[in-house]
């Protein structure tokens, strides 16, 4: 399963990377996020694409596990 590490990346990189992943049509992937703005932006993008995801909170980052 692909893992997209957006930690330390600034706007709009996290969204662009996730967008590319969505377009590539993979059925399952994970996004690692470490900023609040990225969490909101990626969440908005996933919701817009009607993708369901589970949220896992780690010590210094969050993982969105996307499965379609």
């Amino acid at each position: 399963m692909n893992q997209i590490d957006t930690r330390g990346l600034s706007c709009p990189q996290p969204v662009v990377l996730v967008l590319n992943e969505i377009r590539s049509g993979k059925s399952e992937f994970e996004v690692l996020l470490d900023s609040e703005a990225s969490r909101e932006n990626v969440k908005r993008l996933l919701n817009k694409n009607k993708l369901k995801f589970e949220v896992k909170e780690n010590l210094d980052h969050t993982i969105y596990h996307v499965k379609r």
Binding site: R7, G8, L9, S10, C11, P12, Q13, V15, V16, L19, S35, E36, A37, E40, N41, R44, L45, K48
Partner: protein, 359 residues
């Protein structure tokens, strides 16, 4: 905890508040169609510190201190304050540098572009079209893998505290009228709202913009890249609320000629903002957003802001800045150089990515 300001209603509300605050600041003394302008206000601060000697634009703007501290305090409170660094600092410095040169050819950052439009200055429309083209060019690079790289948490947390302290120092120099500071006696630099009102206005804007991620450049970029109108709804509400308040205060005057602190040299209004829009897109934020990120501890954004201060100084010292009389003698040189710089940065970075992906 759910962040209300990151919702659609939240960002529309934030935009409206910023628009209202800007026009009220203008009513209370800030220059016409310049209730708020990050580029102009940073330029005024550069002048007050003597980095340039344009006598009409020298003042320590408390709004800048307020915006940065507002973001700093609220990000501390919500545990979003994270000192970080290491994402192409020197490139960001020069993006800030040239963004300022472009902004001073047009006479305003994107915030002011929308405020000018809300005041009826149709030259701003040409500037905004340039801004859109500049951002569009930036998105082409972004879609082709342009990326300034990751930042890392700062080894020394104190790094994130430097800018807030600098901002407090500036404010103290203002209220104690520190001798070496130069204050304009006439012109836009001599027009300002009461100090503490400006500071509080800045604090409110900084706090709200931090929570909502308000960004003028981002609003256009997101439409182009992901057809997301979220940020744009905030920027639209900002412009509309300013427009309505201008009508109420009788400050609306539509036209191209004799607009306040503006010129009607269309080509350079356009190209100045192409440069700014491209530089903001490559740096990931408009000047307002860069201040907000600086307050959150992003020291790469601090470097961008320092680039803007330096750009302002060069802009006036090298006669690149425009004035109501028209563009500066060397404004064209600065704009073209800046556009070439941004294109080279964009191309070299996407080239590097391509080479790497082939390996």
């Amino acid at each position: 905890m759910k962040n209300f300001f990151s919702t659609k209603i939240g960002i529309i509300l934030v935009g409206a508040v910023i628009g209202v605050v800007a026009i009220v600041l203008q009513k209370l003394g800030n220059p016409p169609n310049m209730g708020l302008c990050i580029a102009c206000f940073e330029r005024d601060i550069a002048g007050a510190l003597g980095f340039h000697r344009a006598g009409v634009v020298q003042y320590i703007r408390p709004e800048i201190t307020g915006i940065l501290l507002g973001s700093f305090l609220i990000s501390l409170f919500f545990k979003e304050f994270k000192p970080r660094s290491g994402s192409s600092s020197i490139i960001r410095f020069f993006l800030g540098f040239f963004a300022m040169i472009g902004a001073l050819v047009f006479l305003g950052c994107p915030w002011r572009a929308f405020l000018r439009l809300a005041g009826g200055d149709l030259n701003a429309l040409i500037g905004i079209l340039g801004l859109i083209l500049g951002i569009f060019i930036g998105t082409v690079f972004i879609r082709n893998g342009y990326n300034l790289g990751r930042s890392r948490p700062s080894q020394n947390k104190v790094a994130g505290w430097i800018m807030p302290v600098v901002m407090i120092a500036l404010f103290l120099m203002l209220i104690f009228q520190f001798k070496p500071i130069i204050f304009s006696e006439k012109g836009p630099g001599a027009m300002y709202a009461p100090i503490f009102i400006s500071l509080i206005a800045g604090l409110i804007i900084g706090g709200l913009a931090q929570r909502s991620r308000f960004c003028t450049m981002g609003s256009i970029r997101d439409i182009i890249i992901v057809k997301d109108f979220h940020l744009f709804s905030g920027v639209a509400s900002f412009a509309i609320s300013a427009f309505i308040l201008n009508l109420i205060f009788g400050q609306f005057k539509a036209g191209f000629v004799s607009q306040s602190v503006a010129h009607d040299v269309h080509l350079w209004n356009f190209l100045g903002m192409v440069l700014s829009g491209l530089a903001f897109a490559l740096a990931g934020g408009c000047p307002g957003r860069q201040l907000i990120l600086s307050g959150e501890g992003d020291t790469d954004s601090v470097i961008f802001v320092f680039g803007m201060f330096t750009g302002a100084a060069f802009s006036h010292n090298f006669s690149m800045a425009s004035s109501p009389k028209g563009i500066g003698t060397f404004g064209t040189y600065g704009t073209i150089t800046g556009i070439i710089f941004c294109l080279i940065i964009g191309f070299t970075i996407i080239q590097k990515r391509k080479v790497r992906s082939l390996k």
